[in-house]
């Protein structure tokens, strides 16, 4: 099928011109419009969504808030540790007190037994005298 037109730009007469060049090629219905939507949706999914998200005040403040929260967390942790250490010391002190009074009790008891024994022994001797 040869089209007879005036040649232009060195193109031979039996070549198609203008829109006729692609007249044997078709497209699915509404393809070009859908293609644009598809391109943008692929880009949104893979790139635009993460790259050009508008920065709200929350996004700007988020790093500072995270930093502040970390410091507060560390401070609470430190205070908790100190409290735990203090209570451990108090318990140890109490245990030392208990041990002391236990020892004192036995010392007293031992002393009492010795006194009773002495009194008993000396008592007999005194009675014999």
């Amino acid at each position: 099928m040869t089209e007879k037109h005036q040649p232009y730009d060195g193109t031979p007469v039996d070549f198609h011109r203008g829109e006729d060049k692609m007249k044997h090629y078709a497209l699915p219905e509404g393809y070009l419009q859908n293609m644009q939507v598809q391109i943008m949706s692929n880009l949104n999914r893979e790139h635009l969504h993460t790259s050009v998200k508008p920065t709200s005040w929350w996004l700007k403040l988020k790093p500072s808030l995270y930093l502040a929260a970390s410091f507060i967390g560390l401070w609470i942790g430190f205070k908790g540790l100190m409290h735990f250490q203090n209570s451990l010391h108090t318990q140890q002190d109490k245990m030392v007190d208990i041990e002391d009074s236990y020892l004192r009790y036995y010392e007293d008891y031992a002393e009492m037994l010795l006194t009773e024994e002495a009194q008993w022994a000396w008592g007999e001797e005194l009675e014999m005298m």
Partner: protein
């Protein structure tokens, strides 16, 4: 091509600034996606492949925006990306088909003619088939210059930016391509 009232300079500005980049990119999709699609369709002779390649072209364009300095026209920049995307696809197919033919060129020509014949969206016109056969008989660079000049009607200066070939050499290449196609078509008459 969608008509958008924006100058080349404004468009480049939108694409370069990070805060307007997405808006600028949406515009270039509206303005140039159809042209890019047809450029690729003429290279690969098949609607489905052209559709995949046009998607890849725009993804690569987005990824390459950081390197876009606006030295070339936006359309030339996009055409170049599409051109290399299309050539990459053809190289792949050529390698896959090479073992079936005597040479890689023959393999590619046969592959593309089969693609054309089997494309649901080609009407099977005999003259057009012969025209494409003649076009595919050209050396690759001549065929490339012919397509960009004949179908896309790009100025030689733009083709020169895309291919890195001088305007004089491109003119000579196009002239030889036209003569060869013409001669091959006359042989068949």
């Amino acid at each position: 091509m969608t008509k958008v009232l924006i100058t080349e300079e404004e468009l480049r500005g939108l694409l370069i600034a990070s805060e307007t980049r997405a808006k600028g990119f949406k515009l270039i999709v509206e303005m140039y996606s159809a042209q890019i699609y047809w450029q690729l369709r003429r290279m690969v002779y098949n609607h489905d492949d052209a559709n995949d390649l046009v998607q890849n072209t725009f993804i690569k364009a987005w990824e390459g925006l950081d390197n876009f300095r606006g030295e070339a026209k936006v359309s030339t920049w996009l055409y170049s990306i599409a051109l290399y995307e299309g050539l990459g696809h053809l190289r792949q197919q050529q390698r896959k088909q090479a073992h079936l033919f005597n040479s890689e060129d023959e393999a590619l020509t046969n592959y593309l003619l089969n693609q054309l014949e089997s494309d649901t969206y080609f009407d099977g016109d005999e003259y057009e088939r012969k025209f494409q056969e003649a076009l595919l008989s050209l050396p690759e660079k001549q065929a490339l210059v012919f397509r960009l000049r004949y179908y896309d009607e790009l100025p030689y200066e733009e083709i020169s930016q895309m291919t890195g070939t001088s305007v004089g050499a491109l003119k000579a290449s196009y002239h030889h391509a036209v003569k060869k196609i013409e001669a091959l078509l006359k042989q068949d008459h």
